[in-house]
């Protein structure tokens, strides 16, 4: 009977052992805007993220404070915060679910749910590249965001609005935990 109890305990522990976690070690997120007069980019290295893999599926959460994006011009950064209501909604939150098997492929598509500027938008099949650096995994890709996705009125400069497309390039380095 003691043998049976031991087996039961071992079986109950199996799901916990199958779980693995990832943590975002380094990140670079850059928005790009295009205007008839010029182009601009704003980059943040302050994203934090975590991934939990269990039963062949992985959930990832990445978040970045909007006020950590810097374009090299403090006026532009403040204007960006105003136009995306960055004080009311100070975080960009990205969630995704992935089959764990895809994490070992060199390219994969992900469905992203992005909370930004008080809106939530979903992007299907966003292509990403994966590169292995020792234990760490680097993920590269571009999220094809637009102003209209988040009901952002395109800001104007010299009375001309920016283009609707505001792609965000991501470069995320994940390291396994434990």
């Amino acid at each position: 009977m003691r043998f049976v109890v031991a087996l039961l305990l071992a079986a109950a522990c199996l799901p916990a052992r199958a779980q693995s976690q990832w943590v975002l070690a380094k990140s670079s997120l850059t928005w790009h805007i295009s205007h008839p007069v010029h182009t601009a980019q704003g980059t943040s290295h302050a994203a934090r993220g975590k991934g939990v893999c269990s039963q062949g599926e992985c959930d990832f959460l990445i978040a970045v404070p909007l006020n950590t994006f810097h374009s090299g011009d403090s006026n532009r950064d403040l204007h960006m915060l105003e136009i995306v209501r960055g004080a009311e909604y100070p975080m960009v939150v990205v969630r995704t679910e992935l089959p764990q098997a895809e994490l070992s492929q060199s390219t994969f598509d992900a469905n992203l749910t992005i909370q930004f500027a008080g809106q939530t938008a979903q992007y299907k099949d966003v292509p990403f590249q994966r590169m292995q650096h020792g234990k760490d995994v680097e993920i590269l890709g571009t999220i094809p965001a637009t102003c209209t996705d988040f009901r952002i009125t395109p800001p104007e400069f010299l009375m001309m609005p920016i283009k609707n497309e505001i792609p965000v390039t991501v470069d995320l380095s994940w390291e396994p935990v434990g």
Binding site: A11, L14, G72
Partner: protein, 292 residues
């Protein structure tokens, strides 16, 4: 579930648990059943994955249609449902269309902003700051429009300045030709309009609220620093112009500091245009590309 099954089999004489425990083969059956059931229970309680969630209704369907479940079993109270199912959040037996704003993917996996190390103050809304940003942007947009409008009379004032200047002939006998009154009046009127619009433009930049803790960086800093050239220029230019006009009216050749009027004016215009270019830099003209 294992315990409930044990209760069920107590009512069936052919599957008496006491008999099973005495029987070595029965012990193996009970142990095997529990071994299978425990991991399934653990998955169902811990995971939010739909593929695993589907086990629960399927198991219920099997148990309700099974011949092993007799009338006595139906009298048993239902096992309590997990709290998330009772609240209808995320693990409904009848899947509904995704509502990402309420339950985004992974939201039930325990991943939270606090779990990432963000403090509540970092993630909390700040309506006061948003109002300040809105007001700042509103005032600076007016500043920008007035600044563009100001450029037109400023350039025109410089262009028509030749009509307001004395003409000097460099022949054997030096003569001075005074400007026509209409030329002078036009130059003075445009200059006054420029000064008024410039003052309004400056007001909206100065009165726009400052965001605490943010120091000017990048192009906006150059834009601001150029103010130290064109703002004094905008004060000096009309004063020197009035002095020059006064000397002209007295039939004198413009002399002294008044003779610097045009140089100060052109420098002011140059600094003003540079300030506008600074906030547009680097310029990559792409007017031919569709905007949407």
């Amino acid at each position: 579930m294992c315990h409930a099954d044990a209760n069920l089999v107590v009512r069936d004489p052919g599957r008496d648990i006491a008999g099973l425990s005495r029987n070595p083969a029965g012990r193996i059956v009970v142990a095997y059943a529990c071994l299978v059931a425990v991991p399934l229970l653990a998955f169902a309680q811990e995971s939010s994955h739909p593929a695993v969630i589907a086990i629960h209704p399927a198991a219920a369907a099997i148990s309700s249609s099974s011949s092993a479940v007799n009338e006595a079993a139906l009298d048993l109270p239902d096992a309590p449902l997990p709290a998330r199912e009772q609240n209808g959040g995320g693990q409904s037996q009848n899947p509904k269309p995704a509502q990402p704003q309420k339950t985004p993917p992974g939201a039930n996996s325990g991943l939270t902003l606090q779990g990432l190390g963000f403090s509540p103050s970092q993630t909390a809304a700040n309506a006061k700051l948003q109002a300040l940003l809105n007001k700042r942007t509103h005032m600076l947009q007016i500043h920008q429009k007035l600044g563009l409008i100001t450029l037109a009379p400023m350039v025109t004032t410089v262009l028509v300045s030749s009509g307001a200047k004395q003409k000097h002939s460099h022949t054997a006998v030096a003569t001075i030709t005074e400007p026509g009154s209409s030329g002078v009046d036009l130059h003075v009127a445009l200059g006054s309009l420029t000064a008024a619009l410039y003052g309004a433009t400056a007001y909206y930049a100065i009165a726009a609220p400052k965001v605490p803790g943010v120091k000017p960086r990048g192009a906006i800093r150059l834009h601001r620093d150029l103010t130290f050239i064109h703002a004094p220029g905008m004060v000096l230019t009309p004063i020197l112009g009035a002095m020059a006009l006064d000397q002209e009216n007295q039939g004198e050749k413009v002399h002294g500091i008044a003779s610097a009027h045009q140089y100060v004016a052109v420098t002011t215009l140059g600094a003003y245009v540079a300030a506008m270019v600074a906030v547009s830099w680097p310029i990559h003209l792409k007017f031919w590309e569709p905007n949407q």
